[in-house]
């Protein structure tokens, strides 16, 4: 057998190698990997070319203009961008710390028999369809929010802080949207943070316990620093989800498309909600093209957010000084 091997020509070896199918396998999977890349480019290209008319017409300044008048073809993306960013930031500010606390509770403190049921319940929040969040928000949460949160806040803090100023009126606004988005992204953040915490080696915890640390000290000095990068990534993912959320935001945000109000209790609009509510019935091509331009902006924001998240995670994960030695 060995003799035969020695005598076989390079061509035969090549032929046999390709017959193994590994080459084909490599190319095949590569192809499907490339399909995924293509999809991203396809999305980018379609929204880019679809928004050509609006881009030509409005140019870069579109991003910083207010006003939304389909009758007079006077459009500005600023209110939508503002509403998207602010509602998502509210969501992340609320859901970030909450999600991390939940994750820490589930992975570090929770009794074993409660751990699975509780984490399942939390994950259920992610499974509820967006429309239902919207309906619940309209019928249940807004009335409670208005009388229970917004009005007291507006009459106290709102007196000197314009961010919380009244009038609260219908209760619909950026704040409500932010809170509902927070509920929606909470499970995402909690689940990712929990996965990250599970990766923290047990010996890091024991190192702290062995010097007499309390549970919280163990978490604060040993567990959380170790999983910083992953948790930041999880929050980024949550933010991404909040940015793109459509139906729930649309149903509760109050759809004020043309102006930016100081107060968080005032109605606003998010980019995704704007597209969903106007694109289906945008009749003239400029209007349609403008909405596709908003889609482009939204896609661009998520793209940039992803790049940032990657850079951040990459940077943080390098830890303090020195590299990990095997």
């Amino acid at each position: 057998m060995s003799q035969k091997e020695e005598n076989s020509s390079f061509y035969e070896v090549w032929q046999r190698r390709t017959q193994h199918g590994d080459l084909l396998f490599g190319w095949l999977t590569l192809f499907f990997g490339l399909v995924v890349i293509t999809l991203v480019f396809a999305i980018g290209y379609v929204v880019w070319s679809g928004s050509a008319e609006a881009r030509d017409r409005f140019g870069f300044g579109f991003l910083f203009q207010t006003g939304w008048n389909p009758v007079k073809h006077n459009f500005g993306a600023m209110p939508a961008i503002y509403g998207t960013l602010v509602s998502s930031l509210i969501a992340v500010t609320l859901a970030g710390p909450l999600g991390i606390l939940i994750a820490v509770f589930l992975s570090e403190l929770c009794p074993l028999h409660l751990r699975n049921p509780l984490s399942f319940l939390i994950e259920l929040l992610a499974a509820i369809p967006s429309v239902i969040y919207g309906m619940w928000g309209v019928f249940v949460f807004i009335p409670f929010f208005k009388s229970g949160i917004a009005k007291p806040l507006a009459s106290t803090v709102g007196q000197w802080l314009p961010l919380f100023a009244g009038p609260v009126a219908a209760g619909r606004g950026v704040m409500v949207a932010g809170i509902i988005l927070a509920i929606m992204i909470l499970p995402t953040i909690a689940a990712i943070a929990r996965e990250i915490l599970a990766v923290v080696p047990n010996h890091q915890r024991e190192a702290l316990l062995a010097v007499g640390a309390t549970r919280w000290e163990m978490i604060w000095y040993g567990v959380l620093p170790y999983s910083r990068a992953g948790i930041v990534g999880g929050i980024m993912l949550g933010l991404g989800r909040a940015l793109g959320e459509t139906m729930a935001a649309l149903m509760v945000i109050g759809s004020a498309k043309s102006t930016i109000e100081n107060s968080l209790f005032a109605p606003g609009i998010t980019a995704a909600a704007l597209i969903a509510s106007e694109l289906p019935n945008a009749n003239d091509s400029l209007h349609e093209s403008t909405l596709i331009l908003i889609a482009l902006v939204l896609f661009g924001i998520t793209l940039i957010l992803n790049i940032l998240a990657r850079l951040l995670v990459w940077q943080v994960s390098r830890g303090p000084v020195g590299t990990i030695r095997a």
């Binding site: 024991e206 062995a210 010097v211 007499g212 000095y221 910083r228 303090p320 000084v321 590299t323 030695r325």
Partner: protein, 263 residues
């Protein structure tokens, strides 16, 4: 000598459980102060479990619990009003894998226990240096105290962990196979260190390396897997002076193990 007595550890009917499974048959023994006691035995014999019961780390595993008593001097560590973290503060532990806190610098690693207690900065710096010197690491790291602990080699990391433990000036030091992941030279350094530490502390070491036990310990406990019960569990088969265990073992299983017929 009174202090010696106060630092010795007594296990009384110690029964570690994982859920409903009792991992080790009841253990009764004493770890004398100012001496090194070694626990040897094949893997799965429960020696690590027992050592983790001494500083109450065992109960940190979900579902794990302990029955029986561990006495430090007169005090029952599993007593009602006893706080686990106070116990761990007094009974230091070094683990099999060197486990420096990855996100902290070398200096912070040594100081962490004291820092948690709110000691002043100046004291911290002094204690860090003293501990690193005792752990024979000072010369190697004094120029890079603020660098990541991960920049150290495995042996250095393990000595760093020892420094972290002795910085707290505990009464007892537990070591769970501290040299298992190390090269021969680091092993020797750590053994030297242990011999020095025993002048002051009660030292308990778990090792799978019989030669190591023979080299450094004063007393040796031998653990085996008891397969006579339905679900095999650990069992302490013999204890005694190290010399006696290795030269004239009383138990047949000990003989087999030491001569290398099992394990």
């Amino acid at each position: 000598m009174a202090k010696n007595e106060a630092n010795s550890i007594h296990l009384q009917d110690l029964k570690p459980f994982y859920g409903s499974f009792q991992a080790v048959a009841p253990v009764n023994t004493t770890f004398a102060s100012r001496a090194i006691t070694a626990m040897i035995g094949p893997s799965g014999c429960g020696k690590s479990t027992v050592i983790r019961c001494i500083n109450r780390l065992h109960e940190n595993i979900p579902g794990a619990r302990v029955e029986g008593k561990v006495l430090l001097g007169e005090q029952n560590l599993y007593g009602r009003e006893m706080e686990p973290q106070a116990v761990r503060r007094r009974i230091g532990m070094v683990f099999q894998q060197p486990n420096p806190l990855r996100m902290l610098s070398i200096e912070q690693n040594v100081a962490i226990g004291l820092k948690l207690e709110g000691r002043p900065k100046k004291e911290l710096a002094e204690r860090v240096e003293a501990s690193l010197r005792r752990a024979a690491l000072w010369d190697e790291v004094k120029d890079k105290l603020r660098e990541s602990s991960l920049a150290l080699s495995g042996g250095q990391q393990q000595r760093l962990c020892i420094a972290r433990t002795i910085a707290l000036e505990p009464e007892v030091i537990l070591l769970d196979e501290p040299c298992a992941a190390l090269d021969p030279i680091s092993t020797l350094k750590i053994e030297d260190l242990l011999l020095e530490l025993k002048q002051q502390y009660t030292v308990v070491i778990v090792t799978h390396n019989m030669q190591q036990a023979a080299r450094i310990s004063d007393r040796t406990l031998v653990f085996m897997v008891d397969t006579s019960v339905a679900r095999p569990r650990g069992l302490m088969v013999e204890e005694g002076e190290t010399l006696q265990i290795f030269t004239a073992p009383q138990d047949l299983r000990t003989q087999d193990y030491i001569s290398g017929r099992v394990g």
